[in-house]
């Protein structure tokens, strides 16, 4: 597979967005995208942490690789 720099960049941006969401849910009491009263939604935080890691790994897959001679 050849790889795609734009796709890798998109995935990295996505990873940053997921990381920010994870930090938000770890630190803020909220009911945003969650049912019930405003609270610390640590399940959301864990899910976004996992998505961050997966997006970084996917970006590593998507980036063009240098070909060794």
């Amino acid at each position: 597979m050849r790889g795609s720099r734009p796709l890798a960049l998109v995935l990295l941006v996505l990873a940053v967005v997921f990381a920010l969401a994870a930090i938000f849910y770890f630190t803020q009491k909220t009911s945003f995208l969650a049912s019930g009263r405003p609270a610390l939604h640590w399940k959301h935080a864990i899910v976004f942490t996992v998505l961050t890691l997966l997006a970084v790994i996917a970006a590593n897959f998507a980036r063009p690789k240098s070909i060794k001679a």
Binding site: M1, S35, K43, I46, V47, I57, N60, F61, R63, K65
Partner: protein, 291 residues
């Protein structure tokens, strides 16, 4: 609060039905009212009990495929570091992640709206009939494929295990894996079996029966383990006592291990039709007898 006896009954039921293609959640919702047990699936104690039982089942699957999981985990780290796939273990690791993401995201987004269905045994009964139809349709599709191959140039072999046309997991494409993963999200509905729907998708994708079951079990392990672990903190005042919880998890695990071994052995020669008929019969009984 659920009684210890009822929790252990649910543990045995969960152990058998989680890995058989017959929907454990459907059974947990339909069977108690069908046999006259009095408990409410919408009670706060139900989800923590299910979480404990899921951990038992996930442990059984991890133990059953412990060598595969060791290779898969190492393969995952190798592939993640290199950013490319260069051996079958790495490919299987990436396939399992790609197959788990759709079900994980859909499950996470829809889990709360779907919880209302847990208290509706008649809806679960209807979905059990749908589950039976899915299994039956997958076997019909496979039989038609086998007939077509027998009529064509391929020789008729004694058993499909001998037929190279039916693939091993490693032969699946990543796109097919994503489709199977999306199908897995159907198991959020009580009555639709996770293992059933993924085995059916695996058969349609061209896997051998035993390989379809292996793929289904490997794909189910992260989801079942995550479902259990994420619900663990909700083991609050409604949770069973520690002894009952451990006993139930162990019972669910032991029964699940035995069920998986039996199913893998059965599927070397057998088909999914008996499970299809069973689901249809149980669903029909639920619709007739539960009011």
């Amino acid at each position: 609060m659920l009684s210890a006896g009822l929790i252990l009954f649910l543990a045995a039921l969960q152990g058998v039905t989680e890995l058989f293609p017959v929907s454990s959640l459907g059974h947990a919702v339909v069977v108690p009212p069908l046999i006259g047990l009095n408990f409410r699936e919408t009670s706060p104690a139900f989800v923590p009990v299910l979480a404990v039982l899921h951990l038992g089942t996930a442990s059984a699957l991890l133990f059953l495929y412990r060598r595969d999981w060791a290779r898969i985990i190492l393969g995952f780290f190798r592939a993640a570091a290199k950013g490319r796939i260069s051996d079958p273990d790495e490919r299987l690791a990436v396939m399992l992640i790609v197959g788990t993401i759709p079900a994980g995201i859909i499950g996470f987004l829809l889990q709360d709206p779907l919880k209302s269905l847990f208290g509706d045994p008649r809806a679960a009964s209807a979905f059990l009939i749908v589950n039976g139809a899915i299994l039956f349709a997958a076997e019909m599709f496979r039989r038609r494929d086998e007939r077509r191959r027998a009529v064509g140039s391929a020789p008729v072999l004694a058993h499909e295990e001998d037929d190279p046309a039916y693939a091993r997991i490693e032969g699946l494409s990543l796109r097919t894996t994503v489709i199977v993963g999306i199908f897995q999200a159907g198991a959020l509905l009580p009555g639709i079996s996770r293992s059933g729907i993924t085995m059916a998708a695996g058969l349609v994708a061209g896997l051998r029966h035993e390989e379809a079951a292996r793929f289904s079990f490997l794909l189910a392990t992260p989801i079942i383990a995550a479902a259990g672990l994420l619900e663990l903190p909700s083991l609050g005042s409604d949770a069973p006592t520690l002894g009952v919880a451990i006993g139930a998890a162990v019972l669910a695990g032991v029964v699940a291990y035995a069920s998986a071994r039996f199913l893998l052995r059965y599927l070397r020669l057998g088909r999914l039709d008996p499970f299809a008929y069973y689901c249809a019969a149980l669903g029909a009984a639920g619709l007739v007898f539960i009011h």
